[in-house]
Symmetry: C2
Amino acid sequence: MSGMDLRTVSRRSVCDEVYDQLAGNIVRGEVAAGDSLLSERRLAEVLGVSRPIVREALQRLAIAGLVEVRQGGSTTVRDYRRHAGLPVLAQLLLPAGSLDLGVARSLLEARLHIGPEVASLAASRAGAALERPLTEVLSQWDGAADPVRQQWHALEFWDLLVDGCGSIVYRLMYNSMRAAYEPLLAALAPTMQGETVSARPLAAAVVAGNATAARSAAHDLLAPTTHVLLEAISALEG
Amino acid sequence: MSGMDLRTVSRRSVCDEVYDQLAGNIVRGEVAAGDSLLSERRLAEVLGVSRPIVREALQRLAIAGLVEVRQGGSTTVRDYRRHAGLPVLAQLLLPAGSLDLGVARSLLEARLHIGPEVASLAASRAGAALERPLTEVLSQWDGAADPVRQQWHALEFWDLLVDGCGSIVYRLMYNSMRAAYEPLLAALAPTMQGETVSARPLAAAVVAGNATAARSAAHDLLAPTTHVLLEAISALEG
DNA sequence: ACAACCTAACTGGTCTGACCACTTGACCAC
DNA sequence: GTGGTCAAGTGGTCAGACCAGTTAGGTTGT
């Protein structure tokens, strides 16, 4: 049994499919901002689904900020750079199955800037209260066999820090950024492996309640892999 | 005509109403994470709308990360702290018409930490290219009669900086944070008025391409109002 | 020619009722 | 216990209809 490596089956509904197709066309720029979408009835016909399903997908696009729906008029594409929320990052990072390098760079930069702040806040606000959960996650992290499993524990580690920093804004940011990152996790796990050894000093600083030490420890953890990946991106861009 | 102060009529659809009711119940904690929602048919009956409308609202809740829908099983409430994206901030900041002070504090802190970074990046990446648009917005900002109009120009000012920083992540964060802030804009405008005088030095540093000066200028702009508001929040909390 | 009006043909918004696919839990046989 | 079976309830999808708002083009009056 232990070697079977099962995972939950993906159960994509028709609505998911429609949403992904439309969202993909928008973020890949195949329809420009201001353009009108086909009418709901036409879309239903073209996609071979019923109109309620098209509408459900359009509702999702609308609250994501990718389209604007007006009764009587046609549904138009919005400029996602101006109106979309952070969760759209996931679509932008992997627009057509391949990584968008500019988006990836932007994500790495933000991580490097916000991560240390989160660690600092967690140290001053949660401090010793994080001792037990952090050591628990750290031991699992060290014990993890392959880099992918390590990465999952790394995310859980940051999850604790983000909770500890007591900021709902950083919490929600983390959720959106994590959701964008997870599809890449397996591919990036080997590179990220270097962060493992720096986690203990960070945890120690946080538990000690030393905000400045936590900030710099977090920077020390994030900076090396950040720079490696940024250089790799520069190289790929030519 | 000039004194009529018209605004676009709000045209709330039934679906919007259902969404707001359900989202409000969730973020106000009136239903706990893990609880099951009523079935779609029951909700339709209770709310007096048709099932397709209930479904559209549920789709929106689902991609917002507030509920989880599973075919065959019941729709359950998720822990928004763990799964919701940044746009939910808008609902959390004004959950029942009155401000949530903890969320507001968190938002102010994040603004103070990220704003200077955005200014710094804009200085090093856009620099002189921002001269014309920034001076234009600044003149409008100064010329604005009342504090509310000033705030709208202030947002436009930051809009330019966020564009100039060349980071899609900060751009999307800004969109979500701005959307949460806008309903409060009128109430906070008098307090924010103090930021007006600090905008010119910030613009000058950015246009000069001086990243460190831009960072500190942005901090000088944001810090005073941030501290005033944080103290006001502390006072209100007792 | 021009302006105002009006109508027809779109658009999205909502409803109804039906059927399918899936999950759950209870019951039953082994 | 273990596994099979089944019924009830859930979400997933569909079809077709009608309401409500927008838009464009034609009509009318001047």
